[in-house]
């Protein structure tokens, strides 16, 4: 087990190195002068020269990268062009909001997704199965941002009109109360819920065919005990892994969801920074997400090795 963990941790190093080269290289490979990109087209020649010097653009590329990497390793992701504040401080300021949204969404997706998957697998090819899987198929086919906009219309316009209420049921934008969380959570959870439902159904169908399930039924256990006590517990192992991997989907979905609902997380900060051409901020957020995602995947892999011994001996 220790050998597996060490090997898995060592694999993270080239990934992080490569991700930092990609983020560093993206600005350099982009057409035009990076100093102009950062200081802006209309900046004075003095300002452009200053940016060039600050970024070390007069140095060779490998040296520029070495300077960039040493700063990153010290937690210095540069300064925002828009606010002048350190990039890392802005990210850490917005991060709790994104984590809150991702957590509520993953919880909702897991609860509804697993329930739909179980219901579908218990009565395959019934109307419950058909309905659940249609819902799941719609979930993976629907653009996240469009679902957000449709929920806004439903909860802020249609439902209040039908119920004769003066204002929206849930606030369409902003943050601060639990009501603000409802629509972004449903929106962000939709895709993951659909994936989890399909995955749960597939693994449950497999598990329900196993001999020990037949034995459990043969010894007279109630169907509920067979499904939840014996089958689901075993079917959940691959589902838990998929849940860990949903973190990435949630992060990229958060970029869109936060934009739709003006939710003050790092996804919206990224989009705002792109439109403002705040390149240090864009670089910082992308690197931060890539590093975070890599470590979450590492944790999931190690957790999975604990759950399923076949992985660590493979």
């Amino acid at each position: 087990m220790t050998r597996y963990i060490i090997r898995r941790i060592l694999l993270v190093i080239p990934v992080l190195f490569g991700a930092s080269v990609l983020v560093f290289g993206a600005l350099r490979l982009a057409p035009g002068d990076p100093a102009v990109a950062i200081a802006g087209e209309l900046a004075s020649p003095e300002l452009k020269a200053q940016v060039r010097k600050e970024m070390g653009l007069d140095q060779s590329l490998p040296l520029q990268y070495a300077i960039y990497l040493s700063k990153v390793l010290q937690g210095d992701l540069g300064k925002s062009i828009k606010t002048g504040a350190p990039v890392i401080a802005e990210i850490l300021d917005k991060l709790p909001n994104t984590i809150l949204l991702a957590t509520t969404s993953l919880t909702l997706a897991a609860l509804v997704g697993i329930l739909l998957g179980v219901l579908a697998s218990v009565k395959p090819y019934s109307w419950i199965d058909g309905g659940s899987m249609t819902l799941a198929l719609l979930g993976v086919s629907m653009p996240v941002f469009w679902l957000g906009l449709m929920l806004m219309i439903f909860f802020a316009v249609l439902l209040p009109r039908w119920l004769g209420l003066p204002g929206p049921i849930f606030p369409p934008t902003g943050s601060g109360t639990w009501q603000h969380l409802v629509m972004p959570t449903i929106t962000l959870a939709a895709t993951s819920m659909a994936i989890l439902a399909r995955m749960t159904r597939a693994t449950m169908l497999e598990v329900l065919r196993q001999d020990y399930v037949r034995t459990a039924r043969a010894k007279g256990l109630r169907e509920r005990a067979v499904v939840f006590g014996h089958a689901l517990r075993n079917a959940l192992i691959p589902v838990v892994t998929i849940m860990g991997l949903q973190f990435g989907i949630l992060l990229s979905g958060a970029v869109l969801t936060e934009t739709v609902f003006a939710w003050p997380g790092i996804g919206r900060l990224l989009v705002d920074s792109i439109s403002y051409r705040d390149y240090p901020m864009v670089q910082g957020i992308i690197l931060f997400i890539a590093v975070g995602f890599t470590f979450v995947n590492l944790a999931v892999d190690i957790l999975y090795a604990f759950l399923d011994p076949r992985i660590r001996y493979a």
């Binding site: 086919s141 653009p143 906009l149 992308i286």
Partner: protein, 294 residues
């Protein structure tokens, strides 16, 4: 004929009768047929948009701005009075393009990389897999956002961004399938009679890993359309003068509470075509590659 040569000739490529059986099974697979029908409607709409569109999709008419559906304008008019139905037809044309070209980029780069990594193994495999790991460190559309953010908006850049995202999917799939196929007896037999590496990859391995690649491509076109629409929605897609569904949603969202149809129809169109492709992909998977469906 030696035993090895006989085995080489028995490489499990589908015969015409197997193909006919698969086709018959496909036509009986109702969800797949529904998916195919949706995709066909979408392709026809895209190709024949100039003939089918009742109005010029770019002609603004401020008198009709934000008007709802009517007998003259079936799906209403957008924020500057352009005909929504005509714009959706032209948008289908662009979605077809942003669905197919990025997937071709992914196929052309990802499949050879996966084939070579799986077939030769060793350092080549290690390097290819680390490269893919690096790309996968940027979850979902974040890689496409990264590329787009630095390359800037534009149709070409959009296709490159979305195309790059599909490379890891194909590399992993081609590598995994190659690893399985290269252990088969017919490959060993071909090797024993001295078949060259290139011939082996081209004639014996590639044809036998095509089924999962075809299935994945259908699902990947759906994913590319969604990604392109998302980039359009974030303002990283095509220039404003090009009709694209995601960009239509982005422009229309200001009027969401006063003119619902401006955001409802483009999103519905995206969902419908992606649903069609997913149904088709799921059906093809059931028929061509039952192992993947399990």
């Amino acid at each position: 004929m030696t035993q090895a040569a006989a085995l080489v000739h028995s490489s499990p490529l589908p015969s015409s009768s197997t193909f006919r059986k698969a086709l018959r099974r496909f036509t009986r697979h109702r969800p797949a047929m529904l998916g195919l029908a949706i995709v066909c409607v979408f392709v026809i709409a895209g190709i024949f948009a100039p003939a089918l569109a009742p109005y010029d999709p770019d002609k603004a008419n401020f008198m009709l701005a934000r008007q709802g559906p009517s007998a003259e304008h079936w799906l209403g008019n957008d924020e500057i009075g352009r005909d929504m139905f005509s714009r959706l037809l032209y948008g289908a044309r662009l979605s077809l393009l942003v669905g197919l070209i990025p997937v071709s980029i992914g196929l052309l780069i990802g499949v050879p990389l996966g084939l070579l990594a799986g077939y030769f193994g060793g350092i080549l495999d290690m390097l290819a897999m680390r490269l893919i790991d690096i790309m996968l460190a940027f979850p979902g559309i974040l890689l496409a956002i990264t590329v787009s953010a630095f390359l800037g908006p534009g149709l070409f850049n959009l296709m490159i961004s979305v195309g790059i995202v599909s490379i890891p999917v194909y590399t992993r799939l081609a590598r995994g399938s190659t690893l399985a196929v290269k252990e088969e007896q017919f490959v060993e037999a071909a090797r024993s009679i001295g078949v060259s590496h290139l011939r082996m990859l081209r004639l014996h391995i590639l044809p036998n890993i095509l089924a999962p690649l075809v299935v994945q491509s259908t699902l990947q076109v759906a994913s590319a359309i969604l990604s392109a629409a998302a980039l359009g929605f974030l303002g990283l897609g095509v220039p404003p003068n090009v009709t694209e569904w995601g960009t239509m949603l982005q422009k229309g969202r200001t009027y969401i509470f006063t003119a619902v149809h401006i955001v409802m129809f483009p999103g519905f169109a995206i969902m419908l075509v992606v649903l069609g492709l997913n149904l088709l992909g799921d059906g093809l998977r059931d028929l061509l590659d039952p192992r993947m469906g399990r």
